[in-house]
Amino acid sequence: MLKVEAIKEGTVIDHIRAGKGTRILKLLGADEKHEGSVALLSNVKSKKLGKKDIVKLEGFFPSDEKLNLIALISPEATVNIIKDSKVVEKKNVETPGELGIGHCPNPSCITNNEEMHRHFKKEGRMYRCVYCERVFLPEELV
């Protein structure tokens, strides 16, 4: 396995479904906008998932709301908050009951044709757009 230096301060997101790491970086706003170091390990062997991605973000602490968006793409992901080179908090991501961000995949939805906010509500495994009332899989919204 490739070795990547441990981070002193920041966030490590583990157990990301293989191939979804780049989307997660983008979702967290940790792509080109983030100035600290970012490590993305893809297709790492995993007992739990077979293959997984890992993301390490130096000096970056996304809000819980943002972290929970990860669950839309990769519900098994785990988050480790690192301070002074130690894991100070471990948490699982949870799919939110309501979403105020994301993108409705329906091109005829008003949210894709006006400058306005988004709103989705969870129904079982799916999310319903409050506006066009159509239901979508979580990963379709991000």
Partner: protein
């Protein structure tokens, strides 16, 4: 109070509106309609004949005034945003009846406006007042909706009237059968949602058997939905309601249609006791009067 989607309307509200619609019919017959005060704006960004005219007629019959808007001649043409148009009209009226091509436009308008919003159709999503008059027609003709065998037939994929209606029929406990040409079926997730929510089984039939139907609700199949015009012709012929197609139907089965009809129901049917589609359109007046009254008079206003 806003009327956006059948998902927001419970049986109690439907029943109150049906009761008031009955009273409106009696008042219309007697020539003495109790007058109300207020202004209704009809804001149709998309073409409409029945919905717009019947709302305007209902408004006038209640002694209210309406103000109208022609999208092509308005500030929308100058690039005004939808939200700004709603904010502006909101200051001129008590109720906005609107139709828009984008799904969710009425819900968004309701968030912006203080005036009550009535959704007169938002893209392929909802048309709740059509559902109200559909159910009212069934109640009037058949006495009850619970246990009624209702077949919905035609383009069940694109027709917003059908999406609103099937939900409300399930809520009222009708036995629902659906028949649609291949490619124009009702979206599967919609069927599953309704079956789960109301604990019912929707009967899907490729070849319709009208023999046990109490209500046959037909909707238009548009030729432009098919890539091959020959296929379109074949399907439209197959789904056409003729006297011959109805030979096994119950004598008191009623046929409904949201109109406009093109050729999916043979004009020869119009003279039979089955035909209730023009009655249905006429019921739009008392039902929409009742809805306006409900909104203006209720504590929910």
């Amino acid at each position: 109070m806003d009327i956006i989607s059948v998902r927001d309307i419970d049986k109690k509200i439907f029943n109150e509106i049906f009761e008031t619609a009955g009273e409106m019919e009696r008042q219309l017959k007697s020539g003495r309609v109790e007058k109300l005060d207020g202004v209704v704006a009809t804001l149709f960004f998309e073409p409409s004949t029945r919905t717009k005219l019947s709302f305007q007629s209902a408004t006038v019959r209640l002694g209210l005034r309406y103000i109208d808007f022609i999208s092509e001649l308005s500030s929308v043409k100058k690039g005004e945003s939808f939200a700004d148009t709603i904010r502006m009209v909101d200051g001129y009226c008590d109720i906005i009846v609107m139709r828009h091509k984008y799904e969710g436009a009425a819900r968004y308008a309701a968030e912006i406006a203080k005036a009550s919003i009535i959704n007169g159709g938002d893209g392929g999503n909802q048309h709740p007042t059509q559902t109200m008059l559909d159910l009212y027609t069934m109640l009037k003709e058949k006495g009850a909706i619970k246990g009624l065998n209702v077949r919905m037939m035609g383009d069940l994929k694109h027709a917003r009237t059908m999406h609103s209606l099937i939900y409300a029929l399930a809520m009222f406990g009708a036995n629902i059968s659906i028949t649609a040409p291949h490619g124009l079926e009702m979206p599967e997730e919609g069927i599953k949602e309704i079956e789960k929510k109301f604990n019912i089984k929707i009967n899907i039939e490729e070849e319709p058997d009208f023999s046990s139907d109490d209500v046959l609700y037909v909707t238009r199949i548009q030729q432009e939905r098919f890539a091959d015009p020959l296929e379109a012709k074949r399907i439209m012929e197959k789904f056409r309601i003729t006297k011959d197609a109805l030979k096994n139907a119950k004598k008191d089965m009623i046929i409904m249609h949201p109109l406009p009809r093109v050729n999916e129901i043979d004009v020869a049917i119009d003279k039979t006791p089955h035909a209730k589609y023009f009655e249905q359109a006429k019921n739009g007046i008392p039902v929409r009067m009742a809805l306006i009254k409900y909104i203006l008079e209720g504590e929910h206003a």
